[in-house]
Symmetry: C2
Subunit: 234 residues, 2 copies
Amino acid sequence: MTATTTSAAPPRGRIDKRAAILGAALRTFVQDGYGLARVERIAELAGVAKPTVYNHFGDKETLFRAVILDGAQRTSDQIVAALETLPDDGADLAGALARVAQKVIDCQLGEEGWSLQRLMYAEAARFPDLFDDALRRGGVRVHNALAGRLARLSNRGHLHLADPDVAAGHLLALVSGDLPVLSALGTRKVAPDDLRRAIAAGVDTFMRAFASGPGPSAQPVAGRRTRPATGPPR
Amino acid sequence: MTATTTSAAPPRGRIDKRAAILGAALRTFVQDGYGLARVERIAELAGVAKPTVYNHFGDKETLFRAVILDGAQRTSDQIVAALETLPDDGADLAGALARVAQKVIDCQLGEEGWSLQRLMYAEAARFPDLFDDALRRGGVRVHNALAGRLARLSNRGHLHLADPDVAAGHLLALVSGDLPVLSALGTRKVAPDDLRRAIAAGVDTFMRAFASGPGPSAQPVAGRRTRPATGPPR
DNA sequence: CGTCTATTGAACGAATGAGTCCAATACCTT
DNA sequence: AAGGTATTGGACTCATTCGTTCAATAGACG
């Protein structure tokens, strides 16, 4: 019946439904939170019928988990790639750090980055194991990549790091500490100038603390807890 | 367990229902998120009838806003009070900073602190204005209190700060940057030793950057920190 | 060309939860 | 002691949404 005359119908064929669903789900979950997100809306946004969603992922919770893990993977891939661009020679170290920090933060500020972060904060209480998984897939890789990079710089004498792991954490904290406020938890677009200033200030403090100063004052850490420093002294 | 003794019938009288509701609401919202939190459950947890909740606060959203603002106020009161204990003389500055940081973080790690933070992250997309209000009531006051304290130390020569505002942000970032990971976004109890170590490391980096002689680059941050009041995007 | 699988639209059942109404009751004030 | 007010429990309305079912269809493939 209705021998529908071919055209005017959206292409029903098998495209990449799965990816479309994941994307739509991310947007929806982010906007409404897990509880209020409607599966039907996700389907609609993905240009897909609701049963198709249930065909691919069993139920809402499974879909949610897939969204988080998939996103964490992709975002951290981007960030790690950005970190690769940090040169090993110490030329204009501050500038190089600022540039790489800018890239990293751009990844985090992209639609996906903040959205994911907010989602994880939001639902951490309900899906504690999920956060652990995402951290393993995301944060840890970023942290290690940066720590490795910094260790190299330290080995070559361009930085004085007792512990590259700690330094990596501190650098990340310094350059991105203002982000939540600047972006109002990701709900506001950050003025590029504000961001640049924040990054510059963070890198500046980092350099003050860890750059091999021209002077003899390579002050060793006072009252340091014994922590296996993966980075040997200069 | 409500403190009241006696018989099977819970004391029906007018006690501090409002506070009880706010507390129960915080716990519930935190656990389930705004969308999935059930008002009936809040009432039950507060030892109160559901209509009473609606008598005090008009509806779910109003209740939520009250929870956030009230919590932000109280938490930041605590933190500001803790900051007052930072001495102005430079004796054992690192130790003093670590102690005050410990207090501040304790406030943030308490049931209320993390819960609130997670809640705001979670629902920032749906209640953007609410976050601004909470920030004004909470974060800004903490930041200013710390900046004032640091400025004093700087004036007396115990620190070398080009911009106490920036330094305050950096100190907070350094000592609490590891918190999300350590506590798994507030879902895991942080080992006191790990926390102490993280704080000590943060303070140590801060001291390296700002305690010794005037660093190589003492560039004061150019622009004043202005609040983009719902400014035009891009 | 004929078959098979993924997809579609639409509707359905069941459950859930916001917000309201009301008569009964406990506390506070005068 | 009397009267007013806040509170209570529970039932009720109404809307929403998860997850499912089913016949019809579009493209893939031998």
